[in-house]
């Protein structure tokens, strides 16, 4: 299974790269992408919003210090040409690009990075990107109103920036997030910046019809020579999967995100099946168990639940193979993923034995909080109920909205809930959700507390040797597997359907809808004007 996952991930990434390079890109044309996660965009000011929906547009208009390189599965510098790191791993000196221009024609300098990161730390605004910028020394003081400047940021010259950070981590994981985009002060301080966003991206803003679309045009002074290829980029809001399906088949859109039902239909169609991009996204679907509920405080009970559920069957029949079986918490794209690990097998007898050893020979009853989500919600819970009943565990499903689910998880007002969590690309940050000092509100929803796990994470945070760090994180992830604070269900398989005339799409495992539109081009067969 793991081999298959890896093959699929590699093949998808390779296919994406091959698709882009096999033909000569054509200049001109219109790219029509879809924004499928809501009926509107939150904001075109990237500092205001952390949502995946908004980042689809932000990737076109704005840029961050780092980017995710899908082909090589790593973070790369985007707004800097090079970086040097001090021996203690805490001081980063960036040689910034001297050819990056904002859409208003002004050249980007180190001042813009300092301004942007300082703006994000405005404590009175509560910008979501603050959780990343807080890595920089002195950022917290600005957030608390104790300082006006971030002491860890120092401009050496217009194109050299020194950044001192507080932890020995790769800042790339922090500064590739859309909510840390670099913005021009003079434009941000004008009224209505979000209505007329100016950024460093390959496309400049042209039009936003709220609830319908964003249109952007090629920015000729973009710093990557010859790019972008297309003249126009349209990001069309299409929150309804069925409507998206009709529009895609009608050739009105170039890309579409598929749900499980459509995935089956598209795979079975001889034409549509030729345009499917798949990737194991860095999301882990699971059932976190609250140890405050007595049975779940016992590791054997948590393991029993993992043995009692036939996850493969659910993935095949219910999720229609639009997921990869979860082994542990970290997804296979993580460098700390242990390829030798095997998922919990379906073994009800072993589950019964473990329950008996834990003092529950006749099982117990628990309340399972769930949303309506088709891939990690009520349908899954309903499928699991009879499996757990076989080992004597009764389930009382409690249906809530997704918004409420998060609140319940943060307050710990659950015995168990089923959800989807971002588990990459930063494996250390991902595993910190099980660090004992991480509060529940900041993602330790299982109140996990294990000194051995904490030590592994502490050690991983102290070392600057990447191989050693990965080894420590691998051990921590394997420890989680054994402790089973959650039922490890699946890793999301994101699926994007694309038209035959569009090229250069990337199977981005951080979020498949987050494409780098400068690499995308459409050939002459596109029906879009």
């Amino acid at each position: 299974m793991r081999r298959l996952i890896w093959l699929a991930v590699s093949a998808a990434a390779a296919l994406a790269v091959v698709t882009a390079s096999a033909q000569t890109p054509r200049k001109g044309g219109t790219i029509r992408m879809t924004a499928p996660y809501a009926a509107s965009f939150g904001s075109l000011d990237p500092h205001v919003t952390p949502r995946a929906q908004d980042d689809i547009v932000n990737k076109a208009i704005h840029r961050t210090l780092y980017n995710w390189d899908t082909a090589n599965a790593k973070l790369v510098l985007e707004l800097a040409k090079s970086v040097s790191v001090s021996d203690d791993g805490l001081v980063y000196t960036y040689k910034l690009r001297d050819d990056a221009y904002f859409h208003n024609g002004r050249k980007m300098t180190a001042d813009d990075l300092i301004y942007s990161y300082t703006r994000i730390m405005d404590g009175s605004k509560g910008y979501p990107g603050a959780r990343y910028v807080r890595l920089i020394k002195g950022a917290t003081e600005v957030e608390k109103g104790q300082a006006k400047e971030i002491s860890g940021l120092r401009k050496i010259d217009d194109f050299t920036l020194e950044m001192t950070i507080t932890d020995k981590v790769d800042p790339g994981y922090y500064f590739f997030n859309g909510s840390t985009a670099i913005l021009p002060r003079e434009e941000v301080e004008k009224p209505n910046f979000a209505a007329h966003p100016i950024g460093l991206g390959p496309f400049k803003f042209k039009e936003h019809i709220p609830g319908s679309r964003v249109v952007a045009e090629r920015f000729d002074k973009f710093y990557k020579p010859g790019k972008p290829y297309a003249d126009t980029l349209q990001v069309l809001i299409m929150a309804e999967a069925a409507a998206r399906d009709v529009a895609f088949r009608n050739k009105e859109i170039d890309t579409s995100i598929l749900g499980p039902a459509q995935y089956v239909a598209y795979r079975a169609d001889p034409v549509l099946s030729k345009g499917i991009l798949e990737v194991a996204e860095m999301f882990t679907r699971s059932m976190p168990m609250n140890p405050a509920f007595k049975p779940f405080a016992d590791k054997r009970v948590r393991q029993a639940i993992n043995y009692a559920i036939d996850s493969d069957l659910i993935i095949k029949r219910l999720v229609k193979d639009k997921a990869y079986r979860a082994v542990s918490w970290l997804p296979p794209s993580s460098p700390a993923f242990d390829k030798t690990m095997k998922p919990y097998p379906y073994d009800p007898e072993k589950a019964k034995k473990l329950l008996a050893e834990a003092g529950y020979p006749n099982g117990f009853e628990f309340e399972w909080t769930t949303s309506q989500n088709e891939s990690w919600g009520l349908p899954i819970v309903e499928a699991v109920i009879p499996m757990l009943a076989k080992v004597g565990i009764k389930v009382k499903p409690k249906l809530v909205e997704v918004t409420v689910l998060t609140e319940i998880a943060m307050k710990g007002e659950h015995q168990a809930y089923i959800g989807s969590s971002l588990t990459g690309p930063d494996s250390l940050a991902t595993l910190r959700c099980f660090y004992s000092k991480t509060p529940r509100t900041a993602c330790n929803y299982t109140s996990f507390n294990n000194p051995d796990f904490d030590k592994l994470l502490d050690d991983a945070g102290q070392t600057t040797d990447a191989a050693k760090r990965n080894d420590l994180l691998k051990k921590a992830n394997n420890l989680l597997y054994d402790e089973a604070p959650v039922w490890f269900f699946n890793y999301n398989k994101a699926v994007m359907a694309y038209q035959p005339w569009i090229h250069g799409l990337q199977a981005n495992p951080t979020e498949i809808t987050h494409q780098y539109p400068e690499d995308i081009w459409v050939d002459a067969t596109s029906p879009a004007k």
Binding site: V48, P128, I209, L405, E407
Partner: protein, 312 residues
């Protein structure tokens, strides 16, 4: 006329206050908040410090009566607050959506009146005939159809199969993008109007004054247009008013399906993300529209029916 208008406007104020209070209270007791909603896509873990600051900035920690009093005072001055989600004034957000919403609602109602009243009228003139049967089957089907399913079928037929119209979106705001969502939204009121018109016309056709008019030797055309139609209109206008007023709120499903940028789709997103100021603003807007239409209907009664004009 002015007195009727004055009375109606005086009634609007307590209705509005009641609606504002109800929406405010309902959303205050609903579980979930904007901040917890930020984590709904599974990718955003909310930093506790940021959460605390956001709650403070958004005034979510203030006591409920204080929040309500502030909201009421600001609303009276036309300030609907700032959206939690976009951090823009709610009036700006709604202002961007009003025109597409009005276009859709007027187009849907025009379709409903044109088709529904015509069908109902024709059916009533030939009761029991094939026209009557077909019209009523059409009307009952229209009432039973789910907007979502019907919209999808329209997309499938007119966009995918016949390639006559675009399947979704706002385009340049022109007619081609408007037709399918307008029909999907208008089919329910159309069906209701067809049935109401038929019943109203049949009722009037059997009235004494119609018999008298016929016995005077008045032509059938004149009887129908002068006596029957005008008298049947009172009931039809009532239904038109009620349907028209509620269409703005009912457009939620159609707007989302067709990616139409109206108030309905803004409301849906705002509800799911617990963007309270935006939700309150949208509902206020929908209620105002409903009240405005009903006030116009009251005035229309006076114009159509002389008995109402003199019966104060």
């Amino acid at each position: 006329m002015l007195l009727v208008l004055g009375r109606r406007l005086a009634n609007v104020i307590p209705t509005l206050v009641a609606v504002i209070a109800l929406v405010f209270l309902l959303f205050s007791v609903l579980p979930g908040s904007f901040i917890s909603g930020m984590g709904e896509d599974g990718r955003t873990t909310i930093d506790p410090a940021v959460m605390e600051r956001m709650r403070k900035e958004m005034g979510l920690d203030d006591p409920l009566p204080q929040r309500f009093a502030q909201y009421l005072m600001h609303t009276v001055t036309g300030d609907l607050g700032k959206s939690f989600r976009t951090r823009e004034p709610v009036t700006t957000l709604i202002g961007q959506r009003v025109w597409p919403s009005l276009k859709l609602v007027f187009a849907a109602m025009s379709f409903a009146i044109l088709v529904g009243v015509t069908l109902g009228f024709l059916a009533a003139l030939r009761p029991g005939s094939l026209v009557d049967t077909v019209s009523m089957v059409f009307a009952i089907s229209g009432l039973s159809l789910s907007q979502f399913w019907f919209g999808l079928m329209l997309m499938y037929l007119f966009a995918l199969k016949l390639q006559w119209l675009p399947s979704f979106g706002y385009g340049d705001g022109g007619l081609t993008h408007l037709i399918l969502p307008a029909i999907a939204l208008g089919v329910g009121p159309m069906a209701l109007l067809a049935r109401t018109t038929r019943a109203a016309v049949l009722d009037v056709l059997n009235a004494d004054f119609v018999r008298t008019a016929r016995s005077k030797g008045m032509s059938e055309r004149r009887v129908v247009t002068w006596h029957v139609l005008r008298n049947a209109l009172v009931l039809v206008v009532t239904i038109v008013g009620l349907q028209f007023g509620s269409l703005m709120g009912a457009a939620v499903v159609v707007e989302k399906l067709f990616a139409w940028p109206g108030v309905g789709s803004l409301l849906v997103d705002s509800v799911f993300q617990r963007d309270m100021p935006a939700v309150q603003g949208c509902i206020l807007m929908i209620v105002l529209f409903f009240l405005a239409i009903n006030t116009l209907v009251d005035i229309a009664y006076v114009v159509i029916d002389p008995r109402i004009r003199y019966g104060r």
